[in-house]
């Protein structure tokens, strides 16, 4: 993995938020390289700049200064439309609040990224079905978000993020709204995606246990990288799940 080509390259990235009263320096010269196939956890105190960094990585926001190269493309200089295309083709997003479209079925939610790629309806459906069964939700296709549990919603969100087969998956506190067991289920899923399909994963978390599942942990403080540690022995979420006390009402999911 050390020799894999970089997918994310931050060179002296700064982000200032200019508000009426003050200028918040959310990122203060971040240098960071993440290679293809890595599973990176970003940790740090609240306000240390984790979400800001994820937004820039995800091309949702632009850095104030510095250069950001994503998969060989200098995306900082690109137009809004070009960045929308980059998001659609290279990145899958998973959010803390799931961010599924309300009153829209799981299947339709998962199809959505393909709509913006201009994929024909039949092909869309086929790929969305495949993606949903890959996250173990083949039986919940026509449920709307309010008919699904938190864990199930997050699986739909992951299926949506994966349906375009992006090389990079960004997850900002994906387990923040989930209990321990469901958190490990989601982590197990992410670990397998990383292991089996080589998808690069960047995950922001507050929880040490969750961060321990990643192969590399980047700790932020006051807008800078404070520590960048390779975790030689990441926790296997599947095994952690098995060791948890059994809770029957949750049922066993794949």
């Amino acid at each position: 993995m050390k020799d894999a080509p970089p997918i994310i390259e931050f060179v002296e990235i700064h982000k200032d938020y200019v508000t009426e009263a003050v200028v918040v320096r959310a990122l203060r010269g971040v240098n960071l390289t993440i290679r293809k196939g890595e599973f990176v956890a970003i940790i740090g105190q609240s306000g240390s700049g984790k979400s800001t960094m994820m937004n820039i990585i995800g091309c949702l926001d632009r850095p104030t200064r510095g250069q950001y190269i994503l998969d060989g493309i200098d995306v900082g200089a690109r137009s809004n439309d070009a960045r929308a295309i980059v998001r659609n083709h290279l990145i899958g997003f998973v959010f803390q609040g799931f961010n599924l479209l309300p009153r829209t079925t799981a299947l339709e939610n998962v199809e959505l990224p393909l709509v913006y790629r201009g994929v024909a309806a039949a092909e869309r459906r086929k790929r969305a079905l495949a993606s949903l069964s890959a996250v173990g939700l083949g039986a919940r296709l026509h449920h709307t978000p309010n008919q699904l549990s938190g864990g199930q919603q997050q699986r739909v969100a992951i299926a949506r993020a994966l349906v375009t087969q992006p090389p990079l998956l960004l997850a900002d506190e994906p387990t923040g709204n989930l209990d321990t067991r469901t958190s490990y289920e989601v982590l197990d899923l992410l670990q397998r995606l990383n292991r089996e399909q080589g998808i690069t994963i960047v995950l922001v978390t507050h929880e040490r246990d969750i961060a321990d599942c990643a192969g590399r942990v980047v700790e932020m403080r006051d807008g800078s990288v404070r520590r960048d540690i390779v975790n030689e022995r990441p926790t296997d979420a599947g095994r952690a799940l098995a060791e948890l006390p059994v809770q029957d009402e949750h049922g066993a999911t794949s």
Binding site: S51, L60, D61, R87, F95, N99, P113, Y116
Partner: protein, 409 residues
């Protein structure tokens, strides 16, 4: 730049958003619905009225001319009292003009006409027998009076179809005696039915009698005096010449000095038609104006709801942007939504307008129909409203910052 498949899915998304909030959608399109219904109905009403009037005007004869007295406000001594037209003016006009075929006097009064306990209100017209020719009126039965009847003020009359129906029902009035005031008059004939006048008054509730008879029994005036003079030119082409000649003859007879104003006014049937056309033109312009205002109000309603909708769905916009929607995708999505709303309003409005046309046409006896142009204009207008008033909210949605739209967690 945007594929057809994406446009279709934008329409599908828009339809779903509209259907999800049926009550709100219904209230939103109400303004446009009313506006379009008004436009459709008004245009049909205006056209129908005009078509009907034109039909009646050709009925009156396109070579008809009317002379009214007019009080001259010239520098001269004559100020009040006005002018009087006389029967000798009529004779002079007939005698001295080459382009006037006939000129007859005209006295009118409103009266109650009675036949065996049946009552009817009618307009009593006193004239010469030539009046029928000048007005282009035909008798459906009976016959007109004779010149000798005029000379001896014989109590005879020709009645309109409406009066005949009111007083006699289906019976034949010819030879019977009707009464106006204290005097009985023998009915000689019944006129053809003519329908209401351009100004809405029935032209069938009339009693026509020799002007001499009228003067001695119904309306007492000085001998020879007349309210107006009805003339007919020798042909439709000579009406202008007839008018000019009549002007000269009357000025001379009334001794009006060079530079002074006429003490009469001559109007041709064509001028009347022009006036009516103008009146209806202004009227329909007014109605269309009202309709346009309601359409603008409707458009603002759509814009308002679209702005609310964009605000409510900020998060949805953020999600769509995060997974790859471009500005154009979002713009099209919301534009299509307002377009769907406005067009729906247009369709419902057209349907209501059509129903109104059918109902009004039957009630007012007007030849009203839904013109294809009106339909096209109505639907085109509502689509345009959707585009124009939907653009601002849609652009606001498209220009959102994805991070802010997603909200900070």
């Amino acid at each position: 730049m945007i594929g057809l498949a994406r446009v279709f899915s934008a329409i599908a998304i828009a339809m779903r958003a509209v259907l999800r909030n049926k009550l709100r959608a219904a209230l939103t399109i109400l303004g446009i619905t009313i506006g379009i219904a008004a436009v459709v109905t008004m245009t049909a009403l205006g056209d129908g009225a005009r078509a009907k009037i034109n039909g009646q005007i050709t009925n009156l004869g396109s070579n008809a001319l009317i002379v009214f007295p007019q009080s001259a406000r010239a520098s001269g001594a004559r100020t009040t009292g006005g002018s009087k037209l006389s029967e000798s003016d009529c004779q002079a006009l007939e005698r001295e003009s080459t382009s006037i075929k006939a000129a007859v006097p005209f006295l009118r009064a409103s009266a109650q006409v009675v036949y065996e306990g049946q009552n009817a209100k009618a307009e009593v017209i006193g004239s010469r027998i030539g009046y029928l020719k000048v007005r282009n009126w035909e008798l459906q039965r009976g016959e007109p009076w004779t010149t000798s009847a005029e000379n001896v003020s014989e109590k005879v009359a020709v009645i309109g179809a409406g009066t005949a129906k009111d007083l006699f029902g289906t019976a034949d009035p010819v030879g019977r005696w009707i009464r106006i005031g204290r005097h009985p008059y023998r009915v000689l004939g019944v006129l053809e039915e003519k329908g209401p006048s351009p100004f809405g008054r029935s032209q069938d509730d009339v009693v026509l009698m020799p002007i001499t008879t009228m003067r001695s029994h119904v309306r007492f005036t000085r001998p020879g005096e007349t309210d107006a003079i009805m003339m007919s030119a020798t042909s439709p082409e000579t009406t202008d010449r007839a008018k000019k000649q009549a002007e000269e003859i009357l000025r001379q007879r009334h001794r009006i000095r060079e530079g002074d104003e006429d003490d009469f006014l001559i109007r041709s049937q064509a001028e009347f038609q022009q006036m009516q056309d103008n009146i209806y033109g202004v009227l329909s312009l007014l109605l269309v104006g009202i309709a346009a205002v309601s359409l603008v109000v409707g458009g603002i309603g759509v814009m308002n709801i679209m702005l609310v909708s964009v605000t409510e769905r900020t998060r949805e916009i953020g999600i769509r942007m995060a997974i790859g929607a471009r500005e154009m995708d979002i713009l099209v999505q919301f534009l299509v939504e307002s377009l769907v709303l406005a067009t729906l309003g247009g369709l419902v409005g057209t349907t209501i307008g059509y129903a109104a046309i059918v109902g009004l046409g039957a009630a007012l006896d007007l030849p009203m129909k839904l013109a294809p142009q009106a339909l096209a204009v109505a639907l085109g207008t509502s689509t345009a409203i959707g585009l124009v008033f939907g653009f601002f909210p849609a652009r606001r949605a498209a220009r959102m910052d994805p991070v802010q739209a997603l909200g900070r967690e």
